[in-house]
């Protein structure tokens, strides 16, 4: 385990960052084919220090800094996997996967299919994303909807430390490629109990992180915490609000969405990305498609406007805010 010293004991609560670190550490111990690559992941341990300590522990053969070239990080990871290694690549910020898009969906996502099963791409791509930290455009861009249009790739987006660890262990062991989206803003700000040792958390299984009967708020990654805060506030007023954490958007837990609609009849979905074509559209379209009769009101979307990510000074106006969510929820409850 990544500890300051041998005598230091691991606390029961870990931050998301520490949980991810623990998963990487465990899996590199367990499977020596696992290697970590990316910009600044070695000596520095990554911009956010997620990979700190790995190079010292596992050596520069298994943890290495790559040149500044995202397409080659993704493309070479595919090649490494075809050569029986298990690469866990970091793209410094999700926005810079755009530099590698042609190596993601069209290559990583299709190599198994194209080869009719002769090859597969056991590759994990980790990347932080999400707003609220005053990082400039590209860095916080929430590209999950674009990634969801890449069949063959799974898109995983934990919101809690225990899930971050369990989902990352699943991702690395998954024989298929996984994009693992890390909520930058929550890296250090959210801590919670994380089981020690080895466990995996399945994909495609959303979690009802709060029960409720009047309205369901659906989110993923940092959005879940926005939902929880709103639910808390509304509970004070007596409303019973459920919160559903998708945990992975591909595969999508359609049944959980249907159940939510059946249970509460009202759903709001929160996304950080611009409204048009965001993944909230898929959530809304799916729910109305599969649970139309259960809906008491249209599925409502809370999203950024259809404008580019603004400079930090304007970020708070741009991102879905607690206030916007609360207003929508109150309207919805009165529908």
């Amino acid at each position: 385990m990544p500890r300051g010293s041998a005598t230091e004991t691991r606390p029961a609560d870990l931050s998301i960052l520490k949980a991810i670190q623990e998963a990487l550490w465990l899996e590199m111990e367990r499977d020596e084919r696992v290697i970590v690559l990316g910009e600044d992941v070695g000596t520095l341990g990554g911009i956010f220090r997620v990979t700190r300590g790995l190079q010292q522990r596992f050596g520069p053969e298994r943890v290495f800094d790559t040149p500044l070239a995202e397409a080659s990080i993704v493309g070479a990871s595919l090649g490494l996997a075809l050569g029986d290694m298990v690469p866990v690549a970091e793209i410094q910020f999700l926005g810079f996967t755009h530099q590698a898009f042609h190596q993601l969906g069209p290559q990583l996502g299709r190599y198994r299919f194209r080869s009719r099963g002769r090859f597969h791409a056991q590759v994990t791509i980790r990347a932080p994303f999400g707003g609220g930290s005053r990082t400039p455009e590209h860095h916080p861009d929430a590209l999950e909807a674009q990634l969801a249009q890449m069949p063959g790739i799974k898109v995983v987006c934990p919101a809690f430390p225990a899930d971050a660890k369990g989902l990352l262990l699943s991702a690395i062991r998954d024989p298929d490629p996984v994009l693992f989206l890390e909520p930058e803003k929550l890296y250090r700000s959210v801590s919670a109990p994380v089981p020690e040792g080895d466990y995996t958390t399945p994909f495609g299984s959303a979690q009802l992180v709060r029960q409720g009967t009047d309205l369901t708020l659906v989110g993923w990654s940092a959005g879940v915490h926005l939902c929880l805060a709103a639910a808390e506030t509304l509970a004070v007023g007596g409303a019973s609000i459920a919160v559903l954490d998708l945990r992975s958007i591909v595969p999508l837990d359609v049944d959980a969405l249907v159940d939510a609609a059946k249970e509460t009849g009202k759903v709001i979905v929160v996304q950080e990305a611009p409204l048009t074509g965001g993944f909230g559209a898929e959530v809304a379209a799916t729910i109305q498609g599969e649970a139309f009769e259960s809906l008491d009101a249209p599925v409502r979307r809370i999203a950024a406007p259809d404008t580019p990510y603004p400079p930090g000074a304007l970020e708070d106006h741009y991102l879905p805010s607690p206030q916007r969510l609360l207003e929508a929820a109150r309207e919805m409850l009165g529908y």
């Binding site: 290697i35 053969e61 290495f64 790559t66 040149p67 070239a69 397409a71 080659s72 993704v74 493309g75 070479a76 990871s77 595919l78 090649g79 490494l80 996997a81 075809l82 050569g83 029986d84 290694m85 690469p87 042609h102 190596q103 069209p106 290559q107 190599y111 198994r112 299919f113 194209r114 080869s115 009719r116 099963g117 002769r118 090859f119 597969h120 069949p151 063959g152 799974k154 998954d174 024989p175 298929d176 994909f203 495609g204 591909v250 595969p251 999508l252 359609v254 049944d255």
Partner: protein, 333 residues
């Protein structure tokens, strides 16, 4: 090259030329999809392939290296199966160290780097060789891959087939560089140019690069200068954009004829031998095609296979719905 290697090479080159003709004919009769001929580039393709050991080394094709793929162990049957849409029969056998042909120009280059890197990390004495064209050399993927290969010092040969054309774009519009092999210097490894129509020169250059890579000496960029005598592919008509005189000159410098002449002078080849082998080849092509043609066409379920190891629920449901709705296929495409 030893005499038996020369014979092997000549046979592969003849097979390649025959395969081109065969497939083009089939395509014209709508029996197969788009076909991109090797015509004119046989020495570059075969000479490089023969420097590899199929038992250990990996080959990463671009898209028109048919004889190299065959030499490396892909059965002719699988090649023809892919061309004719019998996708599952076209699967690369699990003991053949060959990656897939690539539709997206240059995208195979970083894969090749990763694969070669894995060979190195695993301590194997194997190398990889990746093919790409003069057009592909303009893509960002080439640059990023070459630079990464250099800095990781991976056992990889970048085999650039400069056939002077990328569809209708001549190399003079592709780049202002006179010599593409000089790019290697910018990545810290060796680059060289060979006459891509000289089988022996190609073979020797590749063999040296392979030996260096195997010994831990890292990557090499080899630019094989040749000419795309054929059309870009069966949808293309080069008369629309290039001078027939240029083509005629290249045809006069036919790489097969050069080897044929050498082998004949060396007393290891004759007209009878060639007639015999040509017959063998055409028999093999016809028999294999007949076999492939009789294979069942893939059904709609093939769309849902090999997407993920385990089918996610939503995909499974899409499959169930679709298979219930679909009529019998009426065309193999």
């Amino acid at each position: 090259m030893k005499p038996d290697q020369i014979i092997e090479a000549l046979r592969l080159m003849l097979l390649s030329r025959a395969l081109d003709e065969f497939c083009i004919k089939l395509q014209r009769r709508n029996r197969l999809g788009v076909y991109a001929p090797v015509h004119g580039q046989e020495a570059a393709v075969v000479g490089s392939a023969m420097a590899l050991d199929p038992a250990d080394d990996w080959m990463i094709p671009a898209s028109r290296e048919q004889p190299a793929m065959l030499r490396h162990g892909l059965p002719l049957e699988n090649l023809l199966a892919t061309y004719t849409g019998k996708v599952d029969h076209g699967r690369i056998p699990s003991d053949v160290k060959l990656l897939l042909r690539q539709q997206a120009i240059a995208a195979q280059l970083p894969h090749a780097v990763g694969l070669a890197w894995a060979l190195k990390l695993r301590g194997l004495a194997a190398v990889a060789l990746v093919y790409f064209g003069d057009g592909a050399a303009s893509e960002g993927d080439f640059h990023e891959a070459a630079n990464l290969a250099g800095v990781q010092n991976v056992p990889l040969i970048f085999f650039l087939i400069n056939n002077r054309w990328a569809i209708s774009t001549p190399v003079s519009k592709q780049t202002a560089a006179e010599d593409l092999s000089v790019r290697a210097a910018g990545y810290g490894f060796e680059g060289l140019r060979v006459d891509g129509d000289d089988l022996f020169a190609v073979y020797e250059a590749t063999r040296e690069a392979v030996a260096r890579a195997r010994a831990g000496g890292g990557p090499t960029l080899i630019e094989a200068c040749t000419y795309r005598v054929g059309f870009h592919n069966t949808s293309d008509n080069p008369r629309e954009y290039r001078d027939e005189a240029e083509v005629a000159a290249a045809e006069a410098n036919d790489p097969i004829e050069r080897v044929r002449r050498y082998a004949t002078a060396a007393g290891i080849w004759s007209g009878e031998e060639e007639a015999r082998i040509s017959l063998e080849i055409s028999t093999e092509l016809n028999a294999t095609y007949r076999k492939v043609a009789s294979l069942p066409r893939p059904g709609p379920n093939a769309i849902f296979e090999h997407v993920y190891e385990e089918q996610p629920t939503r995909v499974r449901r899409q499959r169930d719905t679709l298979l219930n709705q679909l009529p019998e296929p009426d065309d193999a495409g």
